[in-house]
């Protein structure tokens, strides 16, 4: 997507006055809407909207073998599909780099926070473990897919129920137990992305804002156990480089914003 120069200039003029086209402040998220259970065939599923940006996410599980370096743990796999349904900018075909990066950033946010208790997903050490697949589909891209997809993945996981596994037939029945997926609830980490546009830091950008930003920085941030922020994964995206002062400013904004939004995120995740 190419933003016309006149529009980019106008966005900057607005930002100088601390304003945005849609009336939000620079550190303000759009309205978040969540619908849980969009597929009754999934272990857990949801749709999440930030304003006009919408994604669907679902969790499926099956039985697999453990990786050589984690013989006693289940496997996690996160994937994102940014198909042409969601935007005229997306193309048909196998996932492009934008979808691959998105999936990997969300994956690391979940994996490194240890939100899922993968050890509890081991059935027989070295032989048989649960595979957990989180699949995310962009339905409408109006900016900030990264954070919307991250929240959708968390909500789908938080609502997932363990399928019934029949040990005799070694097959998964088409029904669910009452048991939730084993989660370390206290490790919940929300992926927050900050964008730098000119000398402004903006959250939850529109497509145009996203496009003209020099860089973005996505951080999975959870609670350190004492009400403080704990960062478990970071991705700096786009070309722009960050100075030392800027980095410390970013982290200040992050901490402040996280304190404000995290209680709301928790409510969305735990219902």
């Amino acid at each position: 997507m190419e933003v016309p120069r006149i529009q980019a200039r106008r966005i900057l003029e607005y930002l100088k006055q601390g304003k945005r086209f849609d009336g939000r402040k620079t550190d303000e998220y759009r309205k978040i809407e969540v619908k849980v259970g969009i597929s009754n065939k999934a272990e857990g599923s949801c749709s999440v909207k930030f304003g006009d940006t919408e994604v669907y996410a679902g969790v499926k599980m099956d039985i697999g073998t453990p990786y050589p370096d984690s013989q006693d743990s289940g496997n996690l796999s996160v994937g994102a599909e940014l198909g042409p349904m969601a935007s005229a900018d997306f193309e048909m075909g196998p996932p492009k780099i934008n979808a691959i990066e998105l999936g990997r950033v969300i994956d690391r946010g979940i994996r490194e926070s240890k939100f899922i208790d993968l050890k509890k997903l081991c059935i027989k050490e070295g032989e048989k473990v649960w595979n957990v697949y989180v699949d995310i589909y962009a339905v409408n891209d109006a900016g900030n897919l990264m954070d919307v997809a991250g929240l959708a993945a968390l909500i789908a996981l938080a609502n997932a129920k363990m399928p019934v596994y029949n040990e005799k037939t070694e097959r998964i029945e088409h029904e669910w137990t009452k048991n939730p997926l084993p989660l370390n609830k206290e490790n919940l980490a929300f992926n927050m992305t900050l964008y730098r546009i000119d000398d402004h830091i903006v959250v939850d950008p529109t497509r145009e804002e996203e496009e003209i930003a020099e860089f973005r920085i996505s951080l999975a941030v959870g609670d350190d156990g004492e009400g403080g922020a704990r960062i478990t994964s970071i991705q700096k995206g786009k070309q722009g480089a960050i100075s030392e002062e800027e980095m410390s400013e970013l982290l200040d904004i992050l901490e402040k914003k996280w304190k404000e939004i995290f209680p709301k995120i928790k409510k969305h995740v735990w219902g």
Binding site: I38, S39, N40, K41, A42, E43, S45, D52, E54, Y56, G58, V59, K60, D62, G79, E81, G83, P84, M85, A86, S87, A88, M92, P94, P95, Y133, D135, Y137, V139, N140, D141, A142, H174
Partner: protein
């Protein structure tokens, strides 16, 4: 030969000619030129239409008229056994038969060198996903303002042992007693009442097929009403 059918009652209590509860909504994807959701029982399809827009690569363009391009896929978590992400042979074939069906109702003669893209996704499947996809797609085309000569409605007719039913669900699709299940997705044009899509898996006599098509035609009239109602709703919301 004249034995009674083993299938005397539908598991979900429906009459043999009864559709599952329908929900239809137009205008669900703001980025698209037209979009819609069609739900029949537990099967949900969403569709987005983009275009007419210039077709790339140029050598695929038709200088006489615009072309229609359909892509149908199921989300990985729409079924019990996770579907591998991305298209496969099944989804490509279904995309093509849907494309052939929809070509009967759009008129792209005024839009040479362009393409109208139709994207169909299935978030939740309980049989009849291609027909749900068509029902959603045609509403999305109408909302997009693509010139259309008529509407189109689709349903899967089934034969359970010797009993004909409409709007087959997954449980019925897997019926194995007697002659088993025959699945017959059909799609009818709203004005000419012509058949624009026909597939069949199973076994059936020519006489039974005639009856099945008649049932499908009647069912499609009810679906058409739901589609028109949803399209009118979005029109009224705008006013």
């Amino acid at each position: 030969m004249n034995k009674k059918s083993l299938y005397t009652k539908r598991e979900d209590g429906r009459a043999f000619d009864e559709l599952r509860p329908i929900e239809a909504k137009v205008g669900i994807i703001p980025n698209a030129d037209g979009s819609a959701m069609y739900k029949s029982g537990d099967t949900v399809a969403i569709a987005a239409v983009f275009g007419p827009r210039i077709l790339h690569p140029q050598h695929m363009q038709n200088s006489q008229k615009g072309i229609l391009r359909v892509s149908y896929d199921m989300m990985t978590f729409s079924v019990y056994e996770r579907k591998k992400p991305g298209s496969n042979r099944r989804s490509q074939e279904i995309s093509k038969v849907i494309e052939w069906a929809l070509e009967n109702c759009v008129d792209l003669s005024e839009f040479p060198n362009t393409v109208v893209d139709v994207f169909i996704q299935i978030p939740q499947a309980d049989a009849g996903t291609r027909v749900a996809g068509i029902n959603a797609a045609v509403m999305a085309l109408a909302q997009a303002g693509v010139p259309m000569t008529e509407m189109i409605s689709a349903v899967a007719v089934g034969k359970m042992d010797k009993t004909l039913v409409v709007d087959v669900n997954k449980e019925e699709e897997d019926y194995e007693e007697g002659e088993g299940a025959t699945d017959i997705p059909v799609c009818f044009l709203s004005k000419s009442k012509k058949l624009a899509l026909l597939q069949l898996d199973g076994k059936i006599s020519p006489e039974e097929l005639k009856k099945a098509l008649e049932m499908g035609r009647k069912a499609c009239e009810k679906i058409y009403e739901a589609q028109v109602k949803a399209l009118k709703q979005v029109g009224e919301e705008r006013e």
